[in-house]
Every structure is written in structure tokens, then in C-alpha cells.
Homo-oligomer: 333 residues x 2
DNA sequence: TTGAAAGCGCTAACAC
DNA sequence: GTGTTAGCGCTTTCAA
């Protein structure tokens, strides 16, 4: 592996001249430029970023911690983060916490050692927020998708999304509505439900405790929809706090010979690719994942570059995508 | 950010002693050990990996290039690669090529500059293999999921998987079988189809050109199943070269009021999570993604550590998962 | 068991 | 426009 010295020697100039050529910190004559370029080419020289990092004490690398990249929603966010990084000249160090808060903490530590310039975190949502804060990060951190009080974050406006879903369902005439809540400890879920309930209130509606199913953000929790359907007065519509739960519910409803939307309306959240793949496709609240990822990176890099460390909270507005899984309440119900 | 010198000063020893303590290259006395540990703790010292890399000329980081991390199949592989890396003490630099061969090449170059120790590549499959080889990599590379002639790779045994699918369908009595091939330029697809055809031959069967649909590895290509169903003698069973295509086909079949498996049997490939979510669940050829990821990392690290650079090809055996989307041919058909 | 010193590849003053 | 020089934080002989 050749170094800047090798290039310099071959080009018959000093190492610093080569450096100037690369950094553009000083103008080099046409003649030397040609010689340097020739040397670089024949030697196959690549600047050693480790050395540059050491010297500049910045790595142009950011860390990304996610709870579970196999979750399509997170995968799509990671992708857009990745694209934004490429565009802005940053490398991306990926770490999957496996939705385990202890591991999440270890990963943070080991990322710090890499002396990355900044960190993007989609936290597990399980840990007490304060302990994350207490670690007193040596570098800028922006939380993605799940916000943390008092710290910078870029998230979808979950409260608004909940309202959107409620307005849609109430507008279709539904009055007995169930909620597949998923994990009640996740802040996003709480906000979606809060928005949902608040909007319902404007229609003079509410959701009783028996009409709420808790669990986790998984397909299996969706299948617990059965507990709603065996109620003496089952709901005519259901709000699931994410698409995967909605898909799980739909799956169980199929098993029970209930049809969507004829027998029951179903609204999901996230608008993952799969939401379009059902028959009929799933009505859902879309989060702009591209924008979520892009803004996170942009914001983080801003915090890295200017020492402006006042936490900023960015909310990306959601939008309702009405597809085939919702319909007006049947007069009989 | 404190350095090894700060620690040394505070502990009243020389920097090299602190280094010895960390690397374990020399034994340190109990007394100094205690002083060093105290200093590290109060200073919150973290070794600077960039400096260490420069000195040791190895970064303990590997690069990973994937075509599209939003594809659930790749996402699952990336996850298992990530876990294996964590376990073995390597960091993971992620780069998504967006399934674009030009970008893939750029990413390789920029990863090289990071002086990573090795590289894992799931290539787009579009480029001529040779041009990838020609880049003459300065570091070990292991190709994942999609092999490249003459280079190290860890892939599923796609040919065997194709045979598995064919044996299953033929065994159920199907004689007119269609293939949703997807992208015929992807080697994996070719191999799956080759295996499928060869096994069919053993049953005295074959698939005529009109029964094969080409396209890409997408949901939309799956929906092209309609062109098979309007044939004068439509197939009674279909092999899709991945689950997403199968899901697309199923979606279209639903639209056409055809039922799976009563009217037509359907076999997918990959066993992504979603394959279990249909009603009935999808019969498919499973690739062991965990193992695929783990073996890739293990193999790459071996190539990094011992200079043994004779290319090794590892095939992970697939297995057929029979679920509800396949059934014996109806006597009427 | 500990320390002094050299150097990994690069950049940024500062001189010329 | 170009070169000299020092030093980023770390590890590693080699001596003491």
C-alpha cells in the first residue's frame, strides 16, 4: 500500500505538495499537478483515512444504532440514512442492538471508541430515557423515529398520525372501535394512541379498556385481535399501531372467516411496502421514511459542524393513505 | 477527549506502561494496575482507534455492500452479519448500492480508502463478473449470497433448492408447471431454474418457454402470473424464484378469483418472514440466512488473519418448507 | 516491571 | 508554488 511519500518521491515533489493537491489548501502548478496525478495512478495510491482522522481528529463517519434491521420499517429508514450519508460524504457504521437495551449501551461505548463524529440512534424504547442522557455523550447525537425529552430528534408526528386515523374511521361511521396497541412502553405508540383518542373525542367517541389489546410490535400481537372479536359487542373497525400488527390481525381475521373491510375495517401505521400487497391493500398512516432518514443526517451533520448544540426537535408530518381495508360501517352492525 | 498520555500522567507512569496494560503485552504490577484503572475511570479515557489503526495498519472494521437493504431478505442477512461482527470484535461499515452497478463500484473505492480489513459484497448481479475481479482488491473479499467464479463466496446452494421445489411439485402430481423466473441475469435465479428443470426431467417433465415469465425480482413481476393463467392450458402449479414474486403472483391470483392452493399451487424461495403471514402460509425453499451471514464473516476474518488467499466456495444447503400453498393436483385439472 | 524513543501516514503552519 | 517541520495518539522494540 503506497503512501503520500511514495507519490511525492515518484512525482519528484515534497509530500506536503501532494497533500496540498489533495486538500486544495494551496494551488499547485499545472506541471506538478500532472506529475502527481500520474504518480497516483501508477501507484494506485489511496489516502489513508485513519491517518487523516488522527491528524484532523474527525473521521467523517457516523454511527447508527437500530433495534432490529430485519424490521422492514427500520430497514427503509436505514436505507435512506445510508443514501443521505453517501451524498454528504460520510461513512456509516451500523450496529444492530437486537432490541436489547444492554447491548445497545455496549454498542454506544464501542462506537465512541471509533471516534465517530456523530451518532444516530433509534433506541429500543425500553430503557429509561434518562440513563441514555446520563451517559453524557462526547459527540452529537440525534435520535431518530423515537424521541427523547430534551435531546435532538427527528421523528414522525405520531400524535397527528393518530388523529388522522381516528378522523378517517369516525368519518366512515364507525362507533365501536378497537385498538391493537402493541407495546405500550414505546413512546411512539403512546402518542399515536393519544392522538387517536383525542380525535375520537371530537366525534363524541371513546375506546373502552376492553377494546384495547397490548403486546409488542409484532405479527403475533396482531393475531390477538381474536380477543376483540369474541366480545359481546365486537368492534366494527380496528386501529393497529403499526402495519405488521395490522397484517397479523388480518391474518387471524381470515382464519376466523371475517372479511376486511366488509366485516371489519382495518387501519395500520407506517406504510411499509407490504401494506400494498394485501387484497385489498391496507389503509394506513404513512410516515415519510425517506425524509425521516434524510433530515436526521442533515441535522446531525449540522450539529457536528457548527457547535450549536441546542437540542432541536423535528417532526415530519404523516399522511393518511386510504386504500381498500376500510369502508363505511354496514348499517346492520 | 483524554489520551493515553493524560492517563499516564495521572497514574504517575509512562504512556508505554499504560499501553502495556491495555494490550497485555507485558505484565504490570498490581499497584500500577490499580492506579491506571483509577485514572482511566476518572478521565473517562477511551483508546483512539484511529491512532491504533494507523500504528497497527489494521482497522478491525469490515465493509459491507448490499444492493438494497430495504429488501427483507437482504436485511435479514445484514442483521446476521452484524451480529457475527459484534461477536468477533469487528465493526461494520454499511453501504447500500441501490442496486446500481456504477454506485457499487464507487462504494468499493471509498471503502478501500477507509483501509478496512476486508469486504463482504452482495453484488448487484448486473455487472459482468470479470470487472469486479479486475479491480484487483487490496484486501480480502468474500461474496455473499451471489457467487463470483474463481473468488471466495458463501452462498446458498441454489441448484439444490431448485431441485427441492421441483421434486415437491412433481411429487404432488403436477404436470403443467409454470415458472416466474424474475431476473434471468441473476446467477442465483439461473441456478434455481436449472435445478428445477433438471429435477423435473427425472419425472419426465419439462417447462415450455410459454410457461416461463421473465422480469425482475419484484412484486410486480409476480403479478405477471396472469399471462400464465390465460394460456389455453394454464399451469396447475407455479415456482417463483423468490417469495416476493410469489406474493405478487398470489396477489394477482386473488384478483382473478383463483384460490391457492385449491386452484393452483405456489412455491416461493427464500423463506422471508412474510412467507408465514399469508393464509394459508407459503410453501417455500428456505435459505439459512443466519448461517449465510455468520459463515461469511467467519470466512472473511479467516482470510484476513491467515494470508491463505486460495478462494473458497461455501454452499449452505437449503431446505424445503412445506406449508399450505401447495396441494396435490386436483383430478379434474 | 517500567520507560524512552521512534514512527505509522497525514496535514498545517510557516518559511522560502 | 513548494518544501521543512512538527505532531495527532498509539504501540513496540530495546534498555534499564
Amino acid at each position: 500500500m503506497s503512501t503520500i511519500k511514495d507519490v511525492a518521491r515518484r512525482a519528484g515533489v515534497a509530500p506536503s505538495t501532494v497533500s496540498h493537491y489533495f486538500t486544495g489548501n494551496a494551488r499547485v502548478s499545472e506541471a506538478t499537478r500532472a506529475k502527481i496525478e500520474e504518480a497516483v495512478r501508477t501507484l494506485g495510491y489511496r489516502p489513508n483515512l485513519a491517518a487523516r482522522s488522527l491528524r484532523l481528529s474527525q473521521t467523517h463517519t457516523i454511527g447508527l444504532v437500530v433495534p432490529n434491521i430485519a424490521n422492514p420499517f427500520f430497514a427503509e429508514i436505514v436505507q435512506s440514512i445510508g443514501f443521505a450519508c453517501q451524498q454528504l460524504g460520510y461513512s456509516l457504521l451500523l450496529a444492530d442492538s437486537g432490541n436489547d437495551e444492554r447491548r445497545e449501551l455496549e454498542l454506544l461505548q464501542s462506537l465512541y471508541k471509533q471516534h465517530i463524529d456523530g451518532m444516530l440512534i433509534i433506541h429500543t424504547g425500553k430503557r429509561d430515557e434518562r440513563s441514555l442522557m446520563a451517559t453524557n455523550p462526547p459527540i452529537p447525537i440525534v435520535y431518530v423515529d423515537r424521541e427523547v425529552d430534551g435531546l435532538s430528534s427527528v421523528t414522525s408526528d405520531n400524535y397527528a398520525g393518530g388523529r388522522l386515523a381516528a378522523r378517517h374511521l369516525a368519518g366512515l361511521g364507525h362507533r365501536r372501535i378497537g385498538i391493537l396497541a402493541g407495546d405500550p412502553h414505546v413512546q411512539n405508540v403512546q402518542q399515536r394512541i393519544a392522538g387517536f383518542r383525542d380525535e375520537l373525542k371530537e366525534f363524541g367517541l371513546s375506546v373502552g379498556p376492553k377494546y384495547v389489546i397490548n403486546g409488542s410490535q409484532t405479527f403475533e400481537t396482531g393475531r390477538d385481535v381474536q380477543f376483540l372479536m369474541v366480545l359481546s359487542k365486537p368492534p366494527t373497525a380496528i386501529f393497529a399501531t403499526n402495519d405488521i400488527i395490522a397484517l397479523g390481525a388480518w391474518n387471524k381475521l381470515c382464519d376466523m372467516k371475517l372479511r376486511v373491510p366488509e366485516d371489519i375495517s382495518l387501519v395500520g401505521y407506517d406504510n411499509i411496502d407490504m401494506a400494498e400487497w394485501t387484497v385489498p391493500p391496507l389503509t394506513t398512516v404513512a410516515q415519510d421514511k425517506r425524509e425521516l432518514g434524510r433530515q436526521s443526517v442533515v441535522r446531525l451533520i449540522r450539529e457536528i459542524q457548527v457547535k450549536d448544540s441546542t437540542p432541536t426537535v423535528i417532526h415530519i408530518p404523516p399522511r393518511l393513505i386510504v386504500r381498500g381495508s376500510t369502508a363505511t360501517r354496514r348499517s346492520g352492525a
